[in-house]
Amino acid sequence: MPKVVTDIICPFCGTLCDDIECTVSDDNKTILSVKNACAIGAEKFNHQKLPGRVTRPRMRQADGSFKEVSYDEAIDWTAKMLVASKKTLMYGWASTSCQAMSIGHEIAEKVGGIVDNCATVCHGSSLIAIEDVGVPSCTLGEVKNRADRVIFWGCNPAHAHPRHMSRYSIFPRGFFTVKGHKGRKIYVVDCRYTDTAKCADTFIQVQQGYDYELLNAFRTAARGESLPDTVGGVPKEKIYEVVAELKEGRFGIIFFGMGLTHTMGRNHNIDIAINLTRDMNDFTKFSIMAMRGHWNVTGSGQVLGWQYGFPYAVDLSRRDQARHQTGETTSVDLLVRNEVEACFYIATDPGAHFPVDAMISSSKKPTVTVDPHINCTTEISDIHIPVAMVGVETGGCAYRMDNVPIETRKVVDAPEGMLTDEELLTRINKRVDELMAAGGA
């Protein structure tokens, strides 16, 4: 008889919803139905039973086709590639567990790898701003229970984090927010009228590329100084009015996304938003939070930060020191500048997201991709090693977008004989040790 598994953590976005329920077949092999998840989250669980799933490693042949090989053979090839390369890009990590990451970092230390995660093309600029000026942040629980002024700046959770608004930021009733939506004032700042903007009390349409100027105007207005008539297409009266409303709130929060991190100025947009948050704390309680995308990209930043002091783009190639410089040790720059000799991708799909020049460069290097699915990156790799899906077929620690660690759960069994990320990396690590003991680089 099918059984129901409750309180499952959704391994899709940084919101890490923790109330998913799945009905699982008798033999514990198939997810029959998914409850409570958003459309994208449900699809993540449903992937598990899709036909045509790759269950054994595949190696590229001379004619360009893939041939199935054993895990041992794939592990040996990968370890030899890592040991031979002077500098290896080890990119991804955002959709695997923190336990797997720490084993991967151990390998990177030995072979002189550069460990980078998806923040590099996402919230990396937020992390640079945090390095520069710090961050006054909070947990999503505090937002739910306290926030009465909620600003979404350059983000669209209605599409990217579908349950964020109902669980934490707009609709829920909390301890001090008993009126739910009615007790909150919602502001959306964007250059487009998004679906999130439809839920807003105030929508501020900023001219594209003028976020920095507008945030500067908010700060200037907060200090009672004069402003030009319009800033980024927004009239100064509107700016003064919104700032006055924000000051009257009991608890304010700014959520921001790619509209700030990947428009002109990048880290500076976040930097000034953080400084606005700091300024607002002179009047009331205010926080700011990045809308992190991949479900465990925050975890990769946490593990790297704890181990090496930098949240992404950590260059361990010198083996005696960790270095970090966005623009130098970041994946896209390394690939475009041809600064690495081999690529190891895990739990991500750069082929779908990186600039084409970077992927052309990558396709000319020895490449290993570890991923449960066939994706754009596996198709330009020399080896594709399939693994169990973390959060569905195996558990592991993940960090929510507010840096709260949550242990994900195993729902069903992986296909027979399939390794998890942790098992695979442990075996690659062991093989690297053997090769280095035998006189490898």
Partner: protein, 266 residues
């Protein structure tokens, strides 16, 4: 002053980290000893001699040592980084971190430099005859102390994020600059003889920025103050003075608020 001449004899496969190429490390060493100094490409450790043909012995001290580098250095990082005295002349373009953290001496690049050059420079003279990349004279990531002394002159254009967190010294760009110049600046002087794109002096606390050309979009936190006659880097002209960034915190001196100053040539 003794001269060490280095001719590039092999282009590195990746990028070569030349952190040992500066008068301080060379001082007191013979040509053969210099050739034995280490250079890095990822985990591969090689010697300077593998990539350069080195002639001439160094002087007894850094101040007595001049280094002349010929050949293609576009894949060489850290040339002249952390130098405290002496002279380095590079007859080529160079890669990242050229002249970063330098505290003294003279560094001349007869080509372009890539990003992160002159980072957190404390003293000396650093001249680039071509163009510079991003983060010229800025702070290292996460540091709040950018360029604090010396003179950094770029005869061509510079990229974005020039002089972020600058706290002292003088930075002159004779061409144009891209966005974000003098962000978080807390001292020093920046002179741009060409045009500045946008976001000039954002979050600036104090210091001076002079722009001879146009600024595409002015920051809203700047306020017109006055018109003044000034001589800036040998040019006498009338400048419009703005104060700002009014959105940023500012210190008080003798009861008066100290602002950053932005001068635009009239």
């Amino acid at each position: 002053m003794n001269t060490v001449t280095m001719n590039v004899n092999k282009i590195p496969e990746l990028y070569f980290e030349c952190e040992n190429v500066n008068p301080d490390t060379f001082a007191g060493k013979k040509a053969a000893e210099i050739a034995a100094l280490k250079g890095y490409q990822g985990k591969k450790i090689s010697t300077l001699g593998e990539y350069f043909t080195i002639t001439g012995d160094a002087g007894a001290t850094a101040a007595d040592t001049k280094i002349v580098i010929n050949g293609d250095c576009t894949k060489m990082k850290y040339i002249g980084a952390k130098m405290s005295a002496g002279e380095v002349v590079v007859n080529s373009s160079t890669d990242m971190y050229t002249g970063s953290w330098m505290t003294g001496g003279k560094l001349l690049i007869k080509g372009n430099v890539h990003s992160f050059c002159g980072l957190a420079m404390k003293g000396g003279e650093f001249t680039v005859e071509g163009n510079a990349g991003n983060y010229l004279g800025a702070a290292y990531r996460g540091d709040w102390r950018g360029m604090s002394g010396g003179v950094l002159r770029v005869k061509g254009n510079a990229g974005s994020d020039v002089a972020t967190f600058m706290i002292g010294g003088e930075l002159i760009v004779e061409g144009d600059v891209d966005i974000h110049i003098g962000t978080h600046m807390e001292g020093g002087k920046i002179i741009v003889k060409g045009n500045a794109n946008r976001r000039v002096g954002g979050q600036m606390v104090k210091g001076e920025i002079y722009v001879f050309g146009n600024i595409n979009v002015m920051m809203p936190g700047y306020k017109y103050k006055d018109e003044v006659d000034l001589e800036v880097d040998g040019t006498k002209a009338k400048f419009i003075e703005y104060i700002g960034d009014l959105g940023e915190r500012h210190p008080k001196k003798k009861g008066e608020m100290v602002y950053g100053k932005l001068y635009m040539k009239k």
